[in-house]
């Protein structure tokens, strides 16, 4: 187990290193000079040079990358003239557009994205697995057919379409819910949940479809397996077979998928956050892309890559704990 974790950590680091190098190389060719943007509309050459120096843009690419890595481990100072901007480790860079360390910016936005994803995750698990079980236990029934149809419609409804529809229904016509903003959990838990309900539903319903289908097929497959037949041959009641044995096996792939899904936090929330104007990581990224705030883009991309790699490891671990046959190697 320890050996596995160590190996996984090393692998994760290797992947992240590679990822960061790719990201760095890609964004180096961005149009526009970030220094120019910082400098303002009318910029004099020596001002530009000073900013170049400060950002380290006058160094060759590989050297900039090394500095980036160094900052990640040990922190880094951006200095010129009489003052120094310190960016403490782990320093993902310094956003000169907003004049803040990228790490801080990301951490600022993280609670929003986490609130969104985790809340939605609970919903999509409950809805997805619940409907999947209903479908899988009575294949071909009216409920199963109805759910299949709903799931199909769900697959065909992108988040931005669903979000708009939900807003129109709940916010405009029924006026049951407040327009979504973001209230920190620590400030007012009720308002937090109320405000996030629509974004949660939007994200959850589109994802729940996947879980529902997976639960249904897995359940059907497991119910057709030999060990279920053994239980039946030994007079074990159907309720117990499903509740104790089939469910256990059904949840295993669900848990694994869940680990993978949670890792894709950032990627999956860009659209939802943009749609609802939630100030999360996805919104930060879109804004950063539009203002060519490269350090933020690099940082956010790395963070989401990191989340995915961690999610993969998490999925493996969960799988290991859920299924005694799986050995971590």
């Amino acid at each position: 187990m320890t050996r596995y974790l160590l190996r996984r950590i090393v692998e994760t680091l290797a992947v992240l290193l590679l990822l960061s190098a790719c990201v760095y190389a890609v964004f180096y060719v961005l149009p526009g000079d970030p220094a120019r943007l910082i400098c303002g509309k009318i910029c004099l050459p020596d001002q530009l040079t000073a900013i170049h120096q400060k950002l380290g843009l006058d160094q060759p690419l590989w050297e900039q990358y090394l500095h980036f890595l160094q900052g990640l481990v040990a922190g880094r100072d951006y200095s010129s003239g009489p003052s120094v901007n310190h960016c403490p480790a782990p320093c993902l860079g310094y956003s000169f557009q907003t004049d803040q360390p990228v790490t801080g910016l990301l951490l600022d936005r993280l609670p929003v994205s986490l609130s969104l994803t985790l809340g939605a995750a609970v919903l999509w698990l409950v809805i997805g697995v619940g409907t999947g079980l209903v479908s899988g236990l009575r294949p071909g029934s009216l409920a199963d057919r109805a759910l299949t149809a709903v799931a199909l419609a769900g697959t065909a409804t992108p988040v931005f379409v669903l979000g708009l529809v939900l807003l129109l229904v709940f916010c405009v016509y029924l006026a049951w819910l407040p327009f979504p903003g973001y209230v920190p959990l620590t400030e007012d838990p009720v308002a937090w949940a109320q405000n996030l309900l629509l974004p949660w539903l939007t994200l959850a319903l589109t994802t729940a479809v996947v879980y529902s289908r997976l639960t249904r097929t897995t359940l059907l497959e497991i119910l057709a397996e030999d060990h279920i037949r053994t239980l039946r041959a030994y007079g074990v009641p159907e309720r117990r077979i499903i509740g104790r044995h089939a469910l256990r096996g059904t949840l295993t792939p669900i848990i694994t998928l869940f680990g993978l899904h949670v890792g894709t936090v950032l990627g999956s929330t860009v659209l939802t956050e943009s749609l609802f104007g939630l100030p999360g990581l996805g919104k930060l990224l879109i804004d950063a892309v539009n203002t060519i705030d490269v350090p933020v883009v690099v940082g956010a991309t790395l963070l989401s890559g990191f989340a995915i790699v961690v999610g993969n490891t998490l999925a493996d671990l969960l799988y290991h704990f859920a299924d005694p046959r799986v050995h971590l190697t």
């Binding site: 419609a153 065909a156 950032l266 995915i308």
Partner: protein
Amino acid sequence: MRHYRVGLAIVAALVLIALTAPLLTALEGQDATGFHPELVNSALGGLPNGALGGISADHWLGVEPGTGRDIFARIVYGAQVSLGVAIGATVVQVLIGTTVGLAAGMGGRLADGLLTRGIDLMMALPELIFAIALLVIVPAGFPRPLLLAGVIGVFGWGGTARLVRAQTLSLRTRDYVAAARLAGAGRVRVARREILPGVVAPVLTYAALLLPGNIVSEAGLSFLGIGVRPPTPSWGQMLSNASVWFRSDPMYVIIPAAAIFLAVLAFTLLGDGVRKAANPRTTGAAS
């Protein structure tokens, strides 16, 4: 199977609409880029005159707020972009995925190891984020639909590659491959005659399932404002523009939303049909 037929019918209709867009708009007597200031109320921010977003005999689906452009024409031309980009992206995904997967599956241990890691890395990339970033990097003058298809394709071939690799590895151990080797067939001949035919069917099935996802990707990127450039119409872009008009002009939202929904639904049904036809064993009881 009858769902599959419904899907096929809608897909066929959409393709026909996309192909005959100029004809259809000519039939309506409008075009996709013409402004009609007389059809909107400038004092109300450009709200279309008349009920239901200005639907009339001349403008079958109403007009855009602000510009007064014909929505029907923009929807049918938008179909070209939506389907074109999605199909193009799928082709890119299948080509790259099959090549990489086949190379990994047929290659030696080293090649396989490297390529597999590459595929894993590819799958670990936050696709949407990279697509967003790349769309910003490429100069604005580059033909946008091509770029979109390329970007969606380039970040979405991991699944295909994995599938092809797994299939190749599985086929490689089949006795008939051993028999072919004993019969004197070289690696290339084995790959071409024995492996590839076995890979094509699952890949095509998979591609059919990739397509609706690619439609959503294109719409999503356009929705984020980094898709095709105006005045080229695209459904996602229309929806994005429409989203602020939700209350005052709901038809403007409903029409592109319905178009996206219908297209994704149809391609999903078709993909499901293809999958079930190719692999009847997994047919669900409810279908």
